[in-house]
């Protein structure tokens, strides 16, 4: 059996009385894109900082690329690249100076560092701005440079902490393409996001984190199937109590010329349709709407993803 690229068991982080991450366990296979989905303050960044050795866990265990974050932190750092929530760049340096500095810190010779810097500047479309001050770069360019930095040593594991926050839709799409390319090249990616669409588009599997706890996980399809309500819409306003008396899969409402029947995740859609047919006689004009990831998130956490962070996590567990 292949060792997972990232594995955590009961990972916990306390900041004083605050429990930022609470017994979080996850496993990410090699070559997989795993999305950690949660609101601001849910513990995503704290999790990334622990997995990348920037923060010592209070308890629990974790390995990255097979290396223990406690006992082999240097190997973890050598095997992984990281972009943090805000691009970690010196605005007074040029893109080329920045990447060359990273290469030199990684003990590459002057020529090798410069050559790898050039390679990354081209790959990330920054060669035209290579000698400009980073402070003059757009948000998208800074984020691309940040990711290029994380990839300098060609790490097998990449952590991207909210990589597209603050980017315009075009830059966001471009970054998604780059992340897909990285995965195609065999890189394992753990990305945190508060954008449902991003998790849906990018991640092979998603972990939903709330209040520092991982409360659900699976492929987007599995999450929808397990936690999402489906909605059956019937043409015409039927007598809701009559329909409700026959249908046991979820609540029934009738208004604005339509009747809707909700089908709970644990109920069978086929059963619901059969019950509806028994009441109204036919399924002509009936439509079924699958749950969105947003529906799943609301179902799991009781709030939408843009709502204010839970009070317990304010501040420290960004």
């Amino acid at each position: 059996m292949t060792t997972p690229a990232i594995e955590a068991h009961d990972l916990t982080k306390h900041f004083g009385d605050l429990v930022a991450v609470d017994h979080l366990s996850l496993s990410v296979a090699r070559g997989e894109i795993f999305g950690l989905l949660g609101r601001n303050g849910s513990g995503k960044s704290t999790t990334v900082r622990m997995l990348t050795t920037l923060l010592r866990p209070t308890s629990g265990t974790a390995t990255v690329a097979g290396y223990d974050v406690y006992t082999r932190p240097n190997d973890v750092r050598r095997s992984s690249g990281v972009t943090l929530q805000d691009p970690a760049l010196d605005p007074n340096m040029s893109g080329r100076e920045h990447l060359t500095l990273i290469g030199r810190l990684l003990l590459l010779g002057k020529r090798k560092a410069a050559s790898r810097a050039d390679e990354l500047l081209v790959a990330f479309g920054l060669s035209g701005a290579a000698d400009r001050r980073i402070g003059t770069y757009s948000g998208g360019m800074q984020r691309r440079l940040d990711i290029a930095t994380a990839l300098f040593s060609r790490p097998p594991v990449l952590f991207l902490d909210e990589p597209t926050t603050g980017l315009d839709p075009q830059s966001r799409r471009a970054l998604w393409d780059e992340i897909h390319l990285l995965r195609a090249g065999g890189t394992t990616v753990l990305l945190t996001t508060q954008y449902l669409e991003e998790a849906d588009q990018l991640a092979d599997r998603i972990g939903v984190i709330d209040g520092g706890k991982l409360i659900a996980g699976g492929t987007p399809r599995e999450l929808r199937a397990e936690h999402g309500l489906r909605t059956v819409t019937l043409p015409g306003e039927h007598h809701a109590p009559t329909v409700a008396a026959a249908v046991t899969t979820g609540p029934v409402t009738a208004r604005d010329g339509l009747t809707t029947v909700e089908v709970r995740p644990d109920a069978s859609l086929d059963e619901a349709l059969a019950q509806i047919r028994s009441v109204i006689g036919s399924l002509d004009g009936v439509s079924v709407t699958s749950a969105s990831l947003e529906d799943v998130f609301v179902h799991l956490t009781g709030r939408d993803i843009n709502s204010a962070p839970a009070r317990r996590n304010e501040g420290a567990a960004a």
Binding site: T52, L54, A88, D90, N92, L101, I102, L107
Partner: protein
Amino acid sequence: MRLLETSAGPVAAVFRRSVREGLRDPGPALFLPVLPPLLLVIAMTSLFGRLGGVIEFPTGSFEEFFIPGAILIVAIAGGGFTSAQVAEDLRSGFMDRLRLQVPNPRSLLLGRYGFEAIRIIPGIAIVLGTGLLFGGALPNGLPGALTISVLAMLLSAAYASLFYIAAIITADPQTPLNLNPLGIIIAFLSTAFIPRAAMPDWADAVAGFNPMTVIVDGARAAMIGDLTSRTVVAAFAVAAAGVVLGMAASGAVLTRKLSRG
């Protein structure tokens, strides 16, 4: 040995970055440390040259006594220039980025210590040259000048550690700058400007414990006394110990800060 191998590259890279920062902003990095001692040399030798007749200076003249002290003030004035960037790196998260690339976070400070030592070389040359024009003496010639320069460079690095510690603890680029008045106290409560015999008892007692006194006395001996004397050796020992202790303390504070996230 392994630690040395893995640290040398990062130290050199951070040193080069500090040099670039210094050249980008040469005023505070290279020339600000010159102004206070230069003004002191001009003002003190012009105004207090006759103090030699009032206070007994071991060197004979006030000017000869005062110039070595003024040269060491270059190491203290504008101290810790690079500490503001350390604080900024911490605040912006860039330090985390750098930390992820190196096995030992202490190596991220060592290169900066190196720059703190060399950035005062132009200042030393200017103050030494001006001091000689205003009545200073350099009977030990170039060896004497080199010795006092190295002592000043060591003092600059040791003194910078206080600024690094403040910068790391607060992650605020402004805070270390507020420490600058400390240099005045350290200098006045040492033998930089007047001999201990001329100080009030309480100041004499403080000066006796002030490491700056040992370094200034050594610098003075290197410039106009016996270059191979114990006083010079003691000055090197104290200055080098200051650098080592400062590096250890600031490295420990940085490591602790980074591990706390």
